[in-house]
């Protein structure tokens, strides 16, 4: 068990920086998820922690020890790869035991530990098989067992579930979270899937273009996004963003599930407590218990989540209203979320406003 600290980490490939001055602290025992679109540098960061990529500048600490120049096998970390990366020529037993033997464990001790772990992940009956004779889920378990058996200080996972079908993926998510609770080891998990990040992590690191956008718990990330990128990356469907006529330097954001939609009858009506948008319902998607409305206002298109109890027909004039407390304001130029007094002032300025 150990915390992982990245200080001013920079990674360059042939003088092109992919990651620059990255600082991150992964607390001991946390389930930290690195999430971001492809190419954001999350995998590179993970691979630097593993020792599979060299670090151009900066300092990497695992358990308060600088490990920049420690070879991967000596960092006391274990990794689960996207494609499992099992040794195809070795039996399940040898796959799991290979690392132990390389650490100089005796044959007897290796056998004991491999059998123990096989019991835990339910592979006891498959120990003599080759990976090619296993199902996808079973291979995934071998990869996990191979990592777990080493009792590492840090557990690294690079999109480990992306090769599984949807059903198995959900099941494995639950298993991984409970595994984390059992082991209490630090987990660092890379994914591009924000749903996976939100459901599994207790600390989420959102990355984009080689930079950390925000580090927060899932709830904070959802309710208090640091900037427009995070706001739109987290949540499905993403946050709506509309322009603000009286404040051209800002944009307003609101989540589809926090907006209400009504058939629009007349211009006058209620003095609203928040943002109101008039538009035409252009299409809708029924998801089951919920449905999504696509509304076209004068200049923008917004999505609103509604319930299937009363369905509005396509082509109707509709009004979208959002309570002021559910509005987010972002600086148009930097994307940073506006908070505090300034936000208050802005919220006041839109109340009852009709765009």
């Amino acid at each position: 068990m150990a915390e992982v600290t990245l200080k001013q980490i920079t990674k360059k490939y042939e003088n092109q920086a992919v990651i620059e001055n990255l600082n991150l602290s992964v607390p001991d025992g946390s389930f930290t998820v690195l999430v971001g679109p492809s190419g954001c540098g999350k995998s590179t960061t993970l691979r630097m922690i593993a020792g599979l990529e060299s670090i151009t500048e900066g300092e990497l600490q695992i358990g308060n020890e600088k490990v920049n120049h420690t070879p991967p096998g000596k960092r006391d970390v274990a990794m689960v790869f996207q494609n499992y990366a099992l040794y195809p020529t070795m039996s399940v037993f040898d796959n799991i035991g290979f690392g132990l033997r390389n650490r100089g464990l005796s044959r007897v001790e290796t056998k004991k530990q491999v059998e123990e772990i096989a019991e835990v992940v339910g592979l006891t009956d498959y120990l003599q098989r080759k990976p090619s004779h296993l199902s996808g889920g079973q291979r995934q378990r071998v990869a996990l067992a191979r990592a777990m058996v080493k009792k590492p200080k840090v557990f690294l996972m690079d999109e480990p579930l992306s090769n599984l079908d949807a059903k198995l993926r959900n099941q494995m998510r639950v298993e991984l979270t409970s595994l984390h609770k059992q082991m209490g080891t630090t987990f660092i998990y890379v994914t591009h899937d924000q749903v996976e990040a939100m459901t599994m992590g207790d600390q989420i690191v959102v990355m984009n273009q080689g930079e950390i956008q925000q580090v927060a718990s899932p709830i904070d990330l959802y309710s208090m996004p640091a900037n427009l990128f995070v706001a739109q990356f987290i949540g499905s469907p993403p946050m709506n963003v509309v322009s603000m006529y009286n404040q051209p330097s800002c944009v307003i954001g609101f989540r589809p599930e926090k907006a209400a939609i009504d058939v629009f009858e007349s211009l006058d009506t209620v003095a609203g407590k928040g943002l109101m948008l008039n538009g035409v319902l252009v299409s809708r998607e029924i998801l089951g218990s919920e449905l999504l409305y696509y509304v076209e206002t004068k200049d923008e298109r917004v999505v609103v989540k509604g319930s299937t109890e009363s369905i509005i027909e396509v082509g109707m004039n509709v009004r979208v209203s959002v309570d002021a407390k559910h509005l987010y304001f972002f600086d148009r130029a930097t994307g940073t979320r506006i908070i505090g007094e300034k936000r208050k002032a802005m919220a006041n300025s839109v109340i009852g406003g009709i765009a």
Binding site: Y13, E14, V18, P37, S38, G39, E53, S54, P71, N208
Partner: protein, 319 residues
């Protein structure tokens, strides 16, 4: 747009990670990591240095000296004398002509017949697979046995071939015993041995042509003949070129069949380069002449190799 720009470095990273050693940027894991690749290639390269590259230099050195296997201590510098002498030998011209004729005939027949066989035998059904294996089999048999077997079949008095000719009402043929037919007989043996190999290579080439090209041609109402020379032959050109080079080089180095079947005779009618070098060097102790002839052969093979590499690299650019 922005995302694409960012995605690029990661793709490049993956590509470079594929080829490189992981501690490549800094020998952080110790100096040994920088030396390791060299240490790994050294044993093999030492063998190549000693048994390919040193001999190549050494034979050039030897070709400028008068020397003999009888007394290796005495090597006398003679400049280009060995080459001048070689080009004045009537025998050598005969040898060059024989080698050229043998090569042209073997390569042309070996590749031409193989092409036809490949077009015919490139089918899925099991019988074609069996036939492919059958015609390939001579390629893995020792040339010693192939030579002796054909020598026996070509025996003018008791041989099977003349018996067959006679049974068909044809006159007996002279095979190896006549200056006019001996070279052709050797060509026959070489073609018999190599045609199966060439066929299999052609079939591999044919199978790598995407099926949809043929389907498109069919939709365009291309006739069979037209498809053959507008699609198949151009698509096979790398294969044809490869076979040309490989077959030519191996025809240049023909030795075993000559040594066993004809010893270069009758009257030098089947004497070819490698056998000539062997005779001059090992039997007549004309080291200088033999090494000069070796250098010429080396030049020919080197030239072919260069052409081959040039073609290969061009092909890489096309793809």
């Amino acid at each position: 747009m922005q995302n694409e720009a960012v995605a690029k470095p990661e793709i490049e990273m993956l590509e470079s990670a594929h080829a490189q050693a992981w501690p490549q940027q800094k020998p952080a894991w110790g100096r040994w990591e920088t030396i390791r690749p060299y240490a790994y290639v050294t044993p093999a390269l030492l063998f190549f240095a000693l048994f390919f590259f040193y001999p190549i230099g050494y034979v050039m050195y030897l070709s400028f000296h008068d020397w003999s296997l009888l007394n290796l201590e005495a090597k006398e510098w003679v400049g280009f004398a060995n080459f001048t002498e070689l080009f004045q030998e009537q025998d050598f011209y005969q040898v060059v002509i024989n080698t050229g004729l043998f090569t042209v005939l073997t390569v042309a027949l070996g590749i031409g017949l193989a092409f036809l066989l490949a077009l015919w035998l490139n089918r899925k059904a099991k019988i074609y697979g069996i036939i492919q294996g059958t015609i390939f089999s001579p390629h893995i048999i020792s040339l010693v046995s192939v030579s002796m077997l054909w020598m026996w079949m070509m025996d003018p008095q008791y041989g099977l071939l003349n018996a067959v000719l006679e049974a068909l009402g044809l006159p007996a043929y002279t095979w190896l015993s006549d200056t006019k037919s001996a070279l052709l007989s050797l060509v026959l043996v070489s073609v018999w041995k190599v045609v199966g190999y060439n066929t299999i290579v052609f079939i591999a080439g044919l199978q790598s042509i995407p099926r949809d090209i043929y389907e498109a041609a069919e939709l365009d109402r291309s006739s069979r003949i037209k498809t053959l020379y507008k699609i198949t032959v151009p698509m096979l050109s790398p294969t044809i070129f490869f076979l040309l080079v490989i077959n030519t080089i191996s025809s240049f180095q023909v030795f075993d069949t000559i040594a066993i079947m004809t010893q270069g005779g009758p009257v030098s009618s089947t004497n070819m380069l490698v056998y000539y070098i062997y005779e001059q060097g090992m039997d007549f102790f004309n080291g200088g002449i033999a090494s000069a002839a070796s250098v010429i052969l080396l030049g020919l093979v080197g030239l072919l190799t260069l052409v081959h590499f040039a073609f290969m690299s061009r092909r890489v650019h096309y793809r």
